[in-house]
């Protein structure tokens, strides 16, 4: 089942690469849709209360104790669904721009997107650390060619910067992965299976060092302050579709890895590192939001809002409570949906106006009301408006932050206020105001563009009012994880929750 999920898009990528150019997009979309179907079937076969399931285990490299081992738990399932849902939408949204004469052509774009999808799915399904590492690093190759081959002028330098950051993080992770092998070999037969590693008795010092390697790699991936500098350059120069895949899918590997590997293998070290990580998360929240306010390039701005959001996710993870972890998982899904919508709509705007500079836009609202309206909704989702999905997850993370310490919660709340500023101010500058003459004839969204956005909008509203299904999937995972880490929930302190609600109501 999971193998099909992974190998289908990979085979599809090869098929697209050898098929005639005229078929590329249709074929690619068909494969992405088929993968979506497989993903949904997997979701229906999934039983929320059974932990890791749909498992497959084969020996891969016997000499290294490496297995080709796949499995899905609540966290993995949500990430898989997010991935398989976003890829077809990206392909639809980028239908024409991928064919840009300046870029590598639609065939290359579609093939790389499918390859990236396959490898990302493998990352979310891997239950062997070595396999995880292999696909974790391998995702960078399609990502590199997507950033470097398609997009705007500075893309090749941006791609190089992106790759250098990611590979540096990957090699730091390699050191820890090797260290795990050594620890595992010292305690008997070396094995990389997650189930074996979780049972390891790692001594405190070694555990902390290994944790550090994992955490740094995931912090670069996520990204977290101070290793975020590749993010804005990449989103600025890549096509919006690529940015969706990078920020909404690939970067989730960072926070996914923190949950699965940092907390799962090194519970002691994770608790030891909590103060530092929480501080970094808070800096990311505030700093990301502040520099987002100062951006004039809409794609950079959206990229930097993600820095702030990833701060929230990391905060939720390391607050070490069930609200925090569940909130973080939900946040990962909601951020994926909301930011994807923002990026795609910003891409539509760019195609119409030929610029990504907010100061040169203005006045689109009257010419293209649907576009502007959807942009506003996606923006409001980003700032966590109640009724839209992000609100639920942001609320849960803030609850856990206040639970952790009141000042942590207080700093985190400012992130929401700042989010209101950057979203609304961006909307005001980009969309409202007098309509310049050259904008007047601009066409509103056509059916294809609308079709790529509509599912995201539906999801935003649906999960805003009914987060139940997501919570049902995430909660058993969270409970298992926290039991493993050894954290017992304190009852949430009621007055603090009120504070959050007030600040939510503030905008």
């Amino acid at each position: 089942m999971l193998s099909t999920l992974i190998w289908l898009p990979l085979a599809g990528a090869i098929a697209v690469a050898v098929a005639p150019k005229t078929l590329s997009r249709i074929l690619g979309l068909g494969i992405a849709a088929a993968t979506l179907v497989v993903g949904v079937v997997a979701a229906f076969r999934y039983d929320v209360d059974k932990g890791m399931q749909l498992t497959e285990t084969h020996t891969w490299i016997e000499a290294f104790g490496v297995h080709y081992a796949l499995g899905l738990d609540g966290l993995g399932l949500l990430m898989v669904l997010l991935t398989v849902a976003l890829v077809p939408l990206v392909l639809v949204a980028e239908w024409h721009s991928a064919d840009d004469a300046d870029g590598g052509g639609a065939r290359a774009y579609v093939a790389w997107v499918l390859a990236l999808e396959a490898l990302s799915l493998a990352v979310f399904c891997a239950t062997d650390v070595f396999l995880f590492y292999v696909v974790f690093e391998a995702t960078l190759i399609p990502a590199y060619f997507l950033v470097g081959g398609f997009g705007r002028g500075g893309r090749s330098d941006a791609a190089l910067k992106f790759l250098m950051f990611q590979l540096a993080g990957g090699l730091i992770l390699l050191a820890s992965v090797i260290g795990l092998y050594v620890v595992s070999a010292e305690q008997g037969t070396p094995s990389y299976l997650l189930s074996d590693l979780a049972q390891l008795d790692i001594n405190t010092d070694a555990g902390r060092w290994l944790f550090l390697g994992f955490f740094i790699a995931f912090a670069i991936k996520a990204p977290l302050f101070p290793v975020h500098t590749w993010l804005a350059d990449t989103t600025e120069n890549a096509t919006p579709g690529t940015s969706v895949l990078l920020v909404c899918v690939l970067d989730k590997i960072g926070t996914f890895g923190m949950l699965r590997f940092c907390l799962g293998i090194f519970p002691e070290a994770s608790q030891w590192a909590t103060p530092v990580v929480v501080t970094l998360a808070l800096i990311s929240i505030v700093y990301g939001a502040l520099i987002a306010i100062g951006q004039d390039d809409v794609l950079r701005l959206i990229g930097l809002t993600s820095l702030s959001h990833f701060g929230f996710i990391t905060l939720g993870i390391f607050a070490m409570s069930s609200q925090g972890s569940t909130g973080a998982i939900l946040y990962m899904v909601n951020h994926g949906v909301g930011t994807a919508a923002l990026f795609l709509i910003a891409g539509y705007v760019y195609r119409r106006r030929g610029t990504t500079l907010i100061s040169e836009m203005g006045g689109l609202e009257k010419a293209t009301p649907v576009l502007a309206g959807l942009f506003l909704v996606a923006g409001l989702a980003t700032l966590g408006l109640p009724g839209l999905s992000s609100f639920v997850s942001e609320f849960l993370v803030l609850v856990s932050a206040f639970d952790y310490a009141w000042y942590v919660g207080a700093v985190a709340v400012t992130g929401i206020v700042l989010a209101a500023i950057y979203v609304l101010w961006m909307y005001q500058r980009a969309m409202t105001g007098p309509t310049p003459p050259e904008v007047e004839g601009t066409e509103d969204l056509d059916a294809r563009e609308l079709g790529a956005i509509a599912p995201l909008m539906v999801a935003l509203v649906l999960f805003g009012f009914f987060p139940g299904p997501l919570l049902d999937v995430a909660n058993p995972f969270t409970d298992g994880l926290l039991a493993h880490v050894g954290v017992v929930d304190n009852a949430p302190v009621v007055p603090l929750v009120d504070t959050t609600v007030e600040s939510e109501g503030g905008h």
Binding site: W60, A138, L140, G148, G149, L163, M164, Y181, A185, T189
Partner: protein, 531 residues
């Protein structure tokens, strides 16, 4: 006067060596008796048949090899203790013979130069003279390169198999002398090529001197030339320790020169750049494999009892080599020089694996040893290196091979297949997962970490990050940089010989990256050295 006793030779186990040297002699005879115009085809055929036969014999010998020492190793001590044919030897023989076959294929390529080989028409003619022009117009060809190559391969086979210091020295010379000659035979840029040959020869001669001096000191210390005898002496002898240490240091100079480790790496870029690229391709893979085999045998067998003395020394050398290779590769503007410095960096990574030696009792069940890691790394690096240099031979402009990096700009748009293959080899050298290089890197880093050398591994990881920069920069250049007018290289039409070589290397790099299991089993099945 002692009686003369006839040495008994194990002809069956020595068969691969005998075949290669015999074929080389046949090649010399062909040179002597065939007219000049009709030598090429017989030479190529004889070389290929000889190497293939030797490969077959190696496999046969490997199948017949018996376990010794309670199953820790397989094979025999042959030729009165001078040649040891054990698992690692046989594995390296197989590897070297495959590289040899690929090398012959590259040597035989004639389509790229318009019907001429990549070697000088008449090596004795001074560059730029009438004699040289005549040689070129007559289409003369140095077919001596094939026997030379075979002698070099023979030396390489003997090098890691040698059981005493004298055999090792003889093997060192047998493999080096033909290579010095081959380096000076380039058809184009002959001065550069001759300079490379001279440099290589002079420095190589020095390093041989060091090796010989070291051998003398060790003999003075141990009273024996054989590795087993030295091992005994190291474990039992306590006096004159300085003799041993000085001997180890001098022997290391000789071997570290051959593998191109800092501070003895100075010849690498010049020789790699100046030599005909076909020679560079073979030499980079073959010499490294043979010399690391010899290095490992010397340190693991003869000086195993002295591990605590040489491990720190090699650690420092490894660190210096990795950093130097990676940093200097960044500033290169010539593809061959860049690959040469990357070869230096890889020497450092291999040394990282060598220092990961542990006693037999210290390894967990199912854990592989550092020797096995090094052997696997040699395999992965060898194929990537041969493939990359083979690709360099087909990217050309009017002046022959276009080795300046600027000429490679935009190659990805003009010839996506060639640029893609080159990128893949670079990614393998950079150690990206799903390529062979990653598994190799993982193997050597793990053994070093297991032996407690985590600080060397940290430096290795830093160097890998630096190294990735220049690999990726070159990929960026090929795919995402527009060429500057007037300086563009194009892909020439190559014959099946070159294309086949590249395809084999590419396939090996993919297969070893995705399913390394079978080859790793071969490596672990090879077992340990016979002590």
């Amino acid at each position: 006067m002692p009686d003369f006793s006839k040495p008994s030779l194990e002809y069956f186990e020595l068969l691969p060596l005998l075949i290669v040297f015999g074929t080389a002699c046949v090649g010399v005879l062909l040179e002597a008796f065939l007219p000049r115009q009709s030598r090429r085809v017989p030479q190529v055929l004889v070389s290929l048949v000889g190497l293939a036969a030797a490969l077959g014999a190696t496999i046969w010998v490997a199948k017949e090899a018996k376990e010794v020492g309670g199953g820790a190793a397989r094979g025999i001590v042959g030729a009165e203790g001078s040649v040891i044919i054990d698992g690692p030897t046989l594995y390296l023989w197989g590897l070297l013979l495959i590289f040899g076959i690929l090398g012959v294929a590259l040597f035989a390529e004639r389509r790229l130069e318009g019907g001429l080989s990549a070697f000088a028409g008449q090596a004795a003619a001074l560059p730029g003279t009438e004699a040289e022009r005549q040689a070129a117009t007559q289409g003369l060809d140095h077919t001596e390169v094939y026997p030379l190559l075979l002698f070099a391969i023979g030396g390489m086979l003997l090098f890691p198999a040698s059981g005493d210091l004298l055999t090792m020295f003889v093997a060192l010379e047998v493999l080096s002398l033909p290579l010095y000659l081959l380096c000076g035979l380039a058809r184009r840029r002959r001065l550069l090529s001759q300079e490379a040959a001279l440099k290589y020869f002079l420095l190589g001669a020095f390093s041989s001197g060091f090796f010989l001096y070291g051998a003398a000191l060790i003999y003075g210390y141990a009273g024996s030339m054989s590795f087993a005898g030295i091992d005994q002496a190291v474990r039992n002898n306590t006096s004159e320790h300085w003799l041993l240490l000085t001997g180890i240091a001098l022997l290391s100079v000789g071997l570290l020169f051959k593998v191109g480790a800092a501070p003895f790496q100075a010849w690498t870029p010049d020789v790699y750049q100046g030599a005909p690229t076909a020679v560079t391709a073979f030499m980079s893979a073959g010499t490294k494999a043979a010399a690391f085999g010899a290095l490992a045998r010397l340190f693991y067998v003869a000086f195993d009892g002295e591990r605590w003395s040489w491990q720190p020394m090699l650690s420092v050398v490894a660190i210096a080599t990795m950093l130097l290779g990676a940093v200097l590769a960044i500033v290169q503007t010539d593809v061959k020089r860049m690959l040469a410095y990357s070869a230096v960096a890889h020497t450092g990574f291999l040394l990282t694996g060598v220092i990961g030696a542990q006693g037999a009792g210290q390894l967990a069940k199912g854990q592989y040893s550092s020797l096995e890691g090094v052997l696997f790394y040699l395999t992965t690096y060898g194929f990537a290196s041969v493939g990359a240099f083979a690709l360099v031979t087909i990217v050309r402009d009017a002046g022959g091979e276009a080795t300046s990096t600027a000429a490679w700009a935009g190659l990805g748009k003009r010839s996506p297949l060639v640029a893609g293959s080159f990128a893949f080899f670079l990614l393998s050298m950079a150690g990206i997962p799903l390529t062979a290089g990653f598994v190799g890197k993982w193997a050597v880093f793990t053994s070093a970490m297991s032996a407690g050398f985590w600080w060397v591994v940290l430096v290795a990881i830093v160097s890998s990050v630096i190294a990735i920069f220049f690999y990726v920069r070159h990929i960026k250049l090929m795919f995402f940089t527009d060429p500057e007018p007037g300086e563009t290289a194009a892909v020439s039409d190559a014959s099946l010989l070159t294309v086949g070589t590249i395809a084999i290397c590419l396939a090996a790099t993919v297969v070893l990256g995705v399913v390394p299991g079978p080859v790793l089993e071969l490596v672990t099945g090879a077992g340990d050295f016979i002590r």
